[in-house]
Point group: none
Chain length 237, copies 2
Amino acid sequence: MPSRQTVLVVDDDELLRTLIRETLQENFKVLEADDGAEIESTLKEKRVDLVVLDVTLPGDDGFSVMRRLRKQSQVPVIMLTAKSEVVDRVVGLELGADDYICKPVEMRELLARVRTVLRRLDNRRPSSAAETARHRFNGFTLDIGKRQLSADSGCEIPLTSGEFDLLRVLAEHPNETMNRDDLLEATRDRDWNPFDRSIDVLIGRLRKKIEDDPKNPEIIKTVRGTGYIFATDVSSS
Amino acid sequence: MPSRQTVLVVDDDELLRTLIRETLQENFKVLEADDGAEIESTLKEKRVDLVVLDVTLPGDDGFSVMRRLRKQSQVPVIMLTAKSEVVDRVVGLELGADDYICKPVEMRELLARVRTVLRRLDNRRPSSAAETARHRFNGFTLDIGKRQLSADSGCEIPLTSGEFDLLRVLAEHPNETMNRDDLLEATRDRDWNPFDRSIDVLIGRLRKKIEDDPKNPEIIKTVRGTGYIFATDVSSS
DNA sequence: TACGCTGTTTACATTCAGTTACAAAATAAA
DNA sequence: TTTATTTTGTAACTGAATGTAAACAGCGTA
């Protein structure tokens, strides 16, 4: 069986959140957030297949949360709305919501809709040669699909194509010494010879971008006589 | 002359409906319905080439009618909407409407649009392929059937034929590195050789149209030595 | 301390992608 | 048809990413 799909529930009402979690967790992995701010960080850290978003959030309302969300991700969203007003529905759909449910929420209905939306999306993706993994380490997230590295602060660290490929191999083999041969093989698909220094130079360039003090690297350490090691824990999703 | 095409007018406002009928019946066969419920039965009984749908229906609104309609049929729809809001337009188009007109309706305009939509569809029919997919990403919607790209703001971004084909291939393979060979194969149906720069130029042209900062692309990224990658999430329908 | 070994850094060369301008081809208009 | 307009391909140039070579630094050992 493939690992379960993950649903992120965003609601400030803890009672409702709990209710939803209990409904969904039989079939899905459930994550929770109690405001909009938490969403973005969660999306960066974990693989999320669906978001259930209450638009009646305190502070900035659900619609603006929705809008920000859509800028960074196309993750499907089901909105919970208090009013059954057409307006809300229209705005919601305009912003890219996939479905909406009016309060009071019938748990059975919620479950049904979650399933429907996810099923609809499954059908659309038969061609999954796509990479979706994400690796987190030392305050960074490396997104394989988007080929981008971002700091937890949210800002993106531009990587060249070669830097990305190298960092990817390292992050996929944490705490494991990699020799130059392996690294070159994995990134450039060619063999290494003792005069080839390109890996070393690339390592240097990477360190400049991700190490606090590139001269005393904490993340990419040298294994003298052998190669390099990604000396940090990585959580992949 | 072939038998005339049939237009179904759905509106609860009898006066407006009559006006529309009189405008259209010179050129088309006109059927009428005064609420959403009647639509489905009519569609089952008669051949309908086009539906003119007023979204300001009583009871359940035009959008939900639209949605139900799309579940059972791909018949083209022109929506009549009270507000000229972008919101409505976007939702309408998202739900699969082919065009929309704001009230008050100019009969001459209505006739023109009916003709346009029907002509557009006629042209498409002989080419058989009923492509109706739509891909959403980063605030854009790429409509495969209409071969057009629009921003969420509602405005359309004109694409040349080659640009569209390329963007389509990319959007159909998000988060997957595509080499020039594949891209050229898919867009121009010919093989690539190392001196062929046409894909690169085309990529540049596309970036200018869809990237915020074409020099630091976020959507179409370069994979040096290999090709390009559509580095963003796509939701397809 | 001097020497050898290995990794780091810098500078520079090379390769590859981005850009532009223009030619060729295709399409639309007259 | 001819003519205009748009789209596409090509070649030349620019700049960025990468490879290469050489100087340099750290470390262990004789």
